[in-house]
Symmetry: C2
């Protein structure tokens, strides 16, 4: 059990940040805040304003009240225009939890008889790489302007945007970098590593996409060179990283075995929230693929209710 | 091209945060900072201290110098004991980027003729679920104390810790919640959804683990009930979410088809950094599995150099 919603979506979306239903029993001269189901309190500086001068007194009274009331995790979502609150919160034992452009969230765990049970914020950067192979057995490759290994050929790709599906991200990146339009075929491999940007871990999802167009028009800002490279050349090219070659070998082996990692779309029965599920699918004799996870779905991203 | 290291690990680890090699040409009375390869500057409050009183003047001079020098992204990593810097940084056009317990990082994009090219911080919470099936066709299921749907049976699991591998996370969560020891068998499915905790997206990786012990001893803090449930009962239980049933069906289908999603460990040739790669493996006639991605690997998490 954690102070915040768990990764299993059935444990609840974070309605506590979206609904600001204040605790109406709070004494005069304190922050009201919103209570969560773990007996924590969240104060949002946009919802309960106060001057920089009066903040220390109100904070002190509020903390006394919350300690008396046996509240547990106390959260302050502080927006840019209330940045003056931050030093005072830190003076009162608050630490940083996460931040995003216009706000930072600080927290303090009040119980002394119970160890802090605050889940860390997201610490995994997710990127996609696109393995685009045409029917002449050529792979779409790019060489970046700011490549770490100068002149190396890699797969088009980049970071997944907030709230973006992985397939959409791969299709978007290919279009941005090369102007080739594509459609989803299969996830190939997923690579996980630590110690990447901002001290995060790194998840790199390689997807096979089928090209729908042929003529390359590269993005000059990002891409130095871009071409359709014969797969045999790619698999033996000194400027292709061994891991990238392996992704191609893996994909060719999937085709030989008649397997794919497909994506289906489902909807949570209770929360009415959509999600994508990636599972191995076996390509049937007739060339159609059937996901193993569902007897009703016979195409990609079919919505299952 | 982005202001920060890209998700493709070959684009570079963020050495700019780990090495503090100051810019020695900075004028008197300015922050030196560390230059990155995108012509950005990072100042760390632990490396360059200054009093709250003198901070506004030094910041002003520094910004003038950085603008003259055509620097691009300016980053301040501000630790708790320098929290007084934050309101002044905000007054000078800085925004929050990310935060973690003892520090918050703020940034400002200086160029006016070029749109900001700052990648967002990690926005995906990663959790694991463990499908532990014994040789009597029973599934290890738990019912949580703070379940969103009271009394529902789910798979043991939880968040992946910073710098933790997914398999280790699944094995750890099963041990913590049920005291059952396990070993990795296969990834089953990966579920991706949006609008989860802290406004992040949610990645839930379901893994089949083979139990090495049998006797359950549940964690009373988190778990209300825990048992080995017959798979047929599980697949028809009204208190089992349909998605969870589907994970079990998918796994049974993998066994029938003789496929797994295996994990191999590789090392980056240049960066000498290890990573895990997940790909479909075909189980051979003799029951051994061979990952399709490698002709040399014939066991889980084999290190390939």
């Amino acid at each position: 059990m954690s102070e915040q919603p768990e990764s299993n979506i059935t444990k609840g979306a974070d309605s506590w940040f979206n609904k600001y239903t204040m605790v109406e029993t709070s004494p005069e001269g304190t922050f009201k805040g919103v209570k969560d189901r773990f007996n924590g309190i969240t104060v949002d500086s946009n919802m309960e304003t106060c001057s920089a001068d009066s903040f220390p007194t109100i904070l002190k009274r509020s903390l006394e009240h919350w300690i008396d009331s046996k509240n547990r995790g106390i959260w302050f979502k502080v927006h840019l225009n209330a940045a003056s609150w931050i030093p005072e919160l830190v003076n009162n034992g608050f630490q940083f939890h996460h931040a995003k452009n216009t706000f930072v969230t600080l927290y303090r765990w009040l119980p002394t008889e119970e160890s802090a049970n605050i889940p860390p914020y997201s610490h995994t950067m997710v990127g996609v790489g696109a393995l685009v192979m045409n029917d002449r057995n050529q792979v779409l490759v790019v060489s970046e302007n700011y490549a770490l290994i100068a002149g190396s050929w890699k797969l088009p790709g980049g970071y997944v945007e907030p709230n973006e599906n992985f397939i959409d991200a791969a299709i978007r990146e290919v279009a941005e970098e090369t102007n080739i339009r594509t459609k989803f075929d299969s996830v190939v491999s997923i690579r996980h590593a630590h110690g990447a940007g901002f001290g995060c871990s790194d998840l790199y999802i390689v997807m096979a996409l089928t090209p729908l167009t042929e003529d390359i028009s590269k993005c000059n800002r990002e891409i130095a060179r871009c071409e359709w490279m014969d797969v045999d050349k790619y698999l033996n090219h000194p400027n292709v990283h061994e891991t990238n070659r392996n992704f191609v070998r893996t994909y060719l082996e999937y085709k030989r075995l008649g397997v794919r990692i497909d994506c289906t779309e489902e909807m949570h029965q209770v929360l009415k929230k959509r999600y994508n599920i990636y599972s191995v699918a076996k390509v049937a004799e007739n060339g159609e693929s059937n996901t193993t996870s569902s007897s009703t779905s016979d195409s990609n991203t079919t919505l299952k209710l």
